[in-house]
């Protein structure tokens, strides 16, 4: 008897071949289930805080992606044009600066950005939460944009070895158009999108980590200012930390599992949002590479 398997014609086989979409659906479904659970069992103020924190984190991540793309594109293309120009001084200077920037661990760059933000907040130069989030996104983008710049340079270098670039130059098409439109926009979107998905994941990780560190380590300073709520500082909240600490009880009291998902929801939900999002974003990026055969 013929057996119908996943390789046959079914919606599962379609999703199996598009792992990125499968994981995107898993991410949305997982968060959706958490939302329903929290709506049922989490108290209203905490639930509202959690939603704000998640949306703020998501918004910051999206802004990081946009800033990184703009910065990376600009630096990547500039480096290429400067490398091929007559004077190499500009290329040498920018290469040297990027080389130094690469050697600064991302978390240190972001921490410096936060210190400056704190000073600006004290002096009353920055007030609105929106501007604070944009500042944070800009800081994280400075720490991660070089990955986009590297991808852009690799793509340009690769296409420069092919005939079509020389052919276009012979046809009188400007080099800037060839690089920006023909190489990067028409032929490298998949590579760039993959990089941006990965950057989105890194930005969520960095943002949550720095918010957690700032809230725990510099709590006396931060309490005076009140940064916008994100998943990181929500997790650093005393209630949330108690919730996470409660997980230890499971080692000595396994029966506690039955109440933990009702009694300690705020911390567990924040932690789940962070970890589950990081995992799903990684899987989406991996699935995207496989589907578009980028490796």
């Amino acid at each position: 008897m013929a057996t119908r398997t996943l390789t046959g014609n079914s919606w599962l086989s379609i999703l199996n071949s598009k792992k990125d979409l499968l994981w995107l659906m898993t991410w949305i479904a997982g968060l959706g289930m958490l939302w329903i659970w929290d709506a049922l069992f989490l108290n209203a103020p905490a639930f509202a805080r959690l939603q704000t924190a998640f949306l703020n984190s998501l918004f910051t991540g999206a802004m990081v992606v946009l800033f990184s793309l703009a910065l990376g594109w600009f630096v990547g293309v500039s480096l290429h044009l400067l490398e091929n120009s007559k004077s190499k001084v500009g290329f040498a200077v920018i290469s040297f600066i990027t080389d130094i920037l690469r050697s600064i661990p991302q978390i240190i760059a972001v921490l410096i950005g936060y210190i400056i933000l704190t000073v600006l907040l004290y002096q009353g130069i920055i007030r609105s939460s929106f501007v604070q989030l944009v500042w944070i996104a800009g800081t994280i983008a400075v720490a991660v944009f070089l990955e986009v710049a590297d991808t852009i340079r690799h793509r340009i270098d690769y296409f420069r070895t092919l005939d079509f670039v020389d052919a276009m130059l012979c046809c009188g098409i400007k080099e800037r158009r060839i690089i920006n439109i023909e190489i990067l926009w028409k032929n490298s979107r998949s590579h760039l999108l993959h990089k941006l998905i990965a950057i989105f994941g890194v930005s969520i990780f960095l943002q949550c980590s720095i918010d957690f560190i700032i809230s725990v380590g510099l709590s006396t300073d931060v309490s005076l200012i009140n940064f916008p709520t994100t998943l990181g500082n929500l997790l650093a909240n005393v209630d949330s930390k108690q919730d996470i600490l409660a997980l230890s009880n499971l080692f000595t009291e396994p029966g506690y599992l039955s109440v933990i998902f009702v009694r300690h929801l705020q911390g567990l939900s924040a932690a789940f949002c962070i970890v589950f999002s990081l995992l799903c974003i990684y899987m989406i990026a991996n699935g995207y590479v496989r589907r578009h055969k980028l490796a």
């Binding site: 040297f96 050697s103 240190i108 380590g217």
Partner: protein, 387 residues
């Protein structure tokens, strides 16, 4: 004439030019940090001098600056002594208020500790912490390098064995049961299905653990395990923050890319062993995962592995930097006293920015030295392969 572009283009530059660039970067950053530290020191001396001047007024035993009457009397006295200098007198009163406020709110005043900035004794104390940080970093980096290779090789072999994920296998099983409709085999399949879902769940939990930020793992076991021990820090450095899985994934990508190259097909055509089954006579026995460097002789996987490893060496730089980010997060988030990065956070809290800059320079130096070491290693490997 020296071609600057070829020097700075990493693929073309020789080892010496790369070392020169690294050296120049270290010197430049050292100068920038030195200027910054000196500026902070000068500002601190001036601030202390000014505070001492104002403290004289606060030390006046008859005046309570919290009492409005005393303040008014003091203000009038100033006007008598410095008649016509209203602006100066106002500024002095504001400066007194500022100092009083700082004495109540500034953590540096509240702790009562000595915050004299970057002294020799402080530099000595930090050096000890730095050496400890380097030791932990070195151990974690080596373990991650070795583990990541093995995980990637395991994933690659599984991929070559055409093994589907547990969930896919489970869904395939559901599909086949539905198509067959054989009642007697249903219970047998149900057991298999349960086992597959259990394996998928465990794998999912393991992945969640590997992607968990260090502070989530540490806080969830804090009451049962001593999270401030060095051993726990090393363990956390390896398994948390996604460092291990991302490094393994990078190596896996190189393995996949290498396996698609033409020489692999040629090697198979020339009868090199090419089976990836664990138990096949020409396959790969599982124990080879323990000695991956010498375990694949006369198998087509050996050149794939070595070529992927060669590409992996320069990629280690970015992973090393990310690993340092992870270690900084661990030390800061867990508030482990006496550790290098915790000290950084404390110095920022006490606004001892010169010490903070000194620590940041130490971290920068660690990344740079790692980059230099990897460049030297890559150069050696290149010479070995005749590049």
């Amino acid at each position: 004439m020296i071609d600057l572009s070829s020097i700075l283009h990493k693929e073309n530059s020789s080892l010496w030019t790369r070392l020169l660039i690294h050296g120049a970067g270290i010197v430049l950053m050292a100068v920038i940090f030195w200027i910054f530290i000196s500026a902070v020191e000068i500002s601190r001396i001036e601030s202390k001098k000014s505070d001492r001047e104002i403290q004289k007024y606060l030390d006046l035993s008859k005046i309570d600056f919290g009492n409005p009457l005393d303040r008014a009397l003091f203000r009038e006295s100033l006007d008598v002594f410095y008649n016509g200098q209203t602006h100066r007198n106002d500024s002095l009163l504001t400066a007194i208020d500022n100092l009083r406020q700082r004495q109540f709110s500034d953590p540096a005043y509240k702790t009562g500790g000595n915050h004299d900035g970057l002294t020799w004794s402080m530099a000595g104390k930090l050096s000890g912490m730095y050496l400890q940080f380097l030791a932990i970093y070195g151990i974690v980096l080596v373990i991650i390098y070795l583990l990541a290779q093995r995980i990637a090789v395991y994933r690659f072999i599984k991929m070559k064995q055409h093994r589907e994920s547990y969930l896919t296998q489970a869904f395939e099983l559901i599909n086949s049961i539905h198509a067959d409709r054989i009642g007697s085999t249903w219970w047998n399949a149900f057991g298999k299905l349960g086992f597959l879902f259990l394996k998928a769940l465990l794998k999912g939990m393991l992945l969640m653990l590997l992607f968990s930020p260090a502070y989530v793992i540490a806080y969830s076991v804090k009451t049962t395990i001593d999270t401030s021990s060095i051993l726990f820090m090393i363990l956390l450095g390896i398994i948390s923050n996604g460092v291990l899985i991302l490094t393994a994934n990078k190596f896996f990508t190189f393995l996949v890319g290498e396996s698609k190259k033409g020489y692999v097909q040629t090697a198979v055509a020339k009868n090199l062993h090419a089976s990836y089954e664990w138990d096949a006579p020409e396959g790969i026995p599982p124990r080879t995962l323990l000695k991956i460097k010498h375990g694949f002789r006369s198998h087509v996987f050996q050149p794939i592995f070595f070529n992927a490893r060669f590409q992996f060496i320069p990629a280690l730089k970015e992973h090393a930097s990310f690993l340092i980010t992870g270690l900084i997060i661990i030390e800061m988030a867990l508030n482990i006293q006496g550790h290098f990065c915790y000290e950084l956070l404390q110095q920022i809290l006490y606004r001892q920015y010169d010490i903070a800059a000194f620590i940041i320079f130490g971290i920068f130096l660690t990344v740079k030295v790692t980059e230099i070491a990897i460049d030297v290693w890559e150069h050696k490997e290149k010479r070995k392969y005749g590049y």
